[in-house]
Amino acid sequence: MALLIESIVKVIVVFGIFLGFVAYMTLLERKVLGRVQVRYGPNRVGPYGLWQPIADGIKAFFKEDLIPANADKPLFVIAPMISVAAAICLIGVIPFGDKITLFGHTIHLRITDLDVGILYLFATASIGEYGVVLGGWASGNRYGVIGALRAAAQMISYELALGLSVIGVIMISGSLSLSAIVAKQAHVWNVVYQPFAFIFYMVCALAEINRTPFDMPEAEAELACGYNIEYSSMKFALFFMGEYAHLIVVCAVATTLFLGGWQGPFLPGFLWFLIKTFVLVFFCIWERGTFPRLRYDQIMHFGWKILLPLTLANIVVTAIVMVV
């Protein structure tokens, strides 16, 4: 019973904070992109545009909710729910701080610690891909179907390299539990042992969440938005939130696997975790303002012919170095 109450409180608190981060992620991205392009970004709603996400959220609720005539209605409604819910569920296994003592209870700053944490992350992220693919397919729109197909092919291609890139970390840590992996990095971060794996992971993660050099599934110029072309009102906002939630989570996972998680001197653990995660999030926004979009054949070539052999080579080299 105590476990149940503790779990419910933890889940609701973390969920609320995370939702706030996701909302303000949209503002951060628009602000930073604005600065990259030498303009201000949103600054009219509240001081520094700080109420913009709230205004956007309220607007999304009151917009007209259109379902196209030839859409597959149940799938069309379920797809954005899958997309956002799977992205939110990813935070379940990420440790974001040391244990603290509150009212005589010792509380670990994480929702739970699974023995197969990394497998859980990949499995749940794969469920999120269904949201994108089903959404595009159910729209009954050609652009949507093409976007969904591209998303499916691109995500499964980069999922291979993503899965291979973290194996080096697992070999060093000898565990799939994220808490154990963080504990192993008390003195030296994994990025020191696995610098290439870190780069491969970030590249694959950007492709996984369909972000700019790899945002082929929603290429505005040729697909007019791709898989979410027919979506409006809150359903569109849910896709959007799912994307940003996923972005924050992949950066948090990169922090946990490679940058020592919440560990750091002087400041409390969760602050270090937030700092490291948001440095990576900032990098993701920055590169969106910098890189042009790749062509689709370039993306597939890069995933299958370059990243896959390189990540395999990284595993082989790690294995040999660890034995010798």
Binding site: L66, P68, Y120
Partner: protein, 118 residues
């Protein structure tokens, strides 16, 4: 260790509950005046002849099948990686043989042109 999964179950319920709440609330709050043009597929130019279920290039199936093969390889690498420190040299040789066999297939697929997207 099923107790560790209880918070995950609660998280799933909260996340899907939130998503369902958002969809239902916008359904109730937003106005709906659909017209024939509004619910037509979003395309430009003349009225659309087709209904979106276009034919799919065969390359996508190839990618899906290759993904199955190589993803199984990744799945086998995970338990190996966890126990690698205990296995030592034996584990190294075993996995080199395994990866070697898969590399033969990878080179074959490459030479056959299955990875080309012209």
């Amino acid at each position: 260790m099923l107790r560790a999964y209880l918070p995950i179950l609660i998280l799933f319920l909260v996340a899907f509950g939130f998503a369902a709440f958002a969809v239902v609330a916008s359904y109730l709050l937003g106005q709906r005046k659909p017209t024939r043009v509004k619910i037509a597929p979003y395309e430009c130019g003349i009225s659309t002849p087709g209904y979106g279920k276009t034919r799919i290039p065969l390359r996508y199936y190839t990618v899906a099948m290759l993904f199955l093969l190589f993803d199984l390889e990744v799945v086998f690498l995970y338990p190996w990686a966890v126990t690698y420190k205990k296995l030592g040299l034996f584990g190294l040789v075993e996995m080199m043989v395994f990866i070697g066999i898969l590399l033969v297939g990878y080179v074959y697929v490459w030479k056959k042109g299955a990875l080309e997207w012209d």
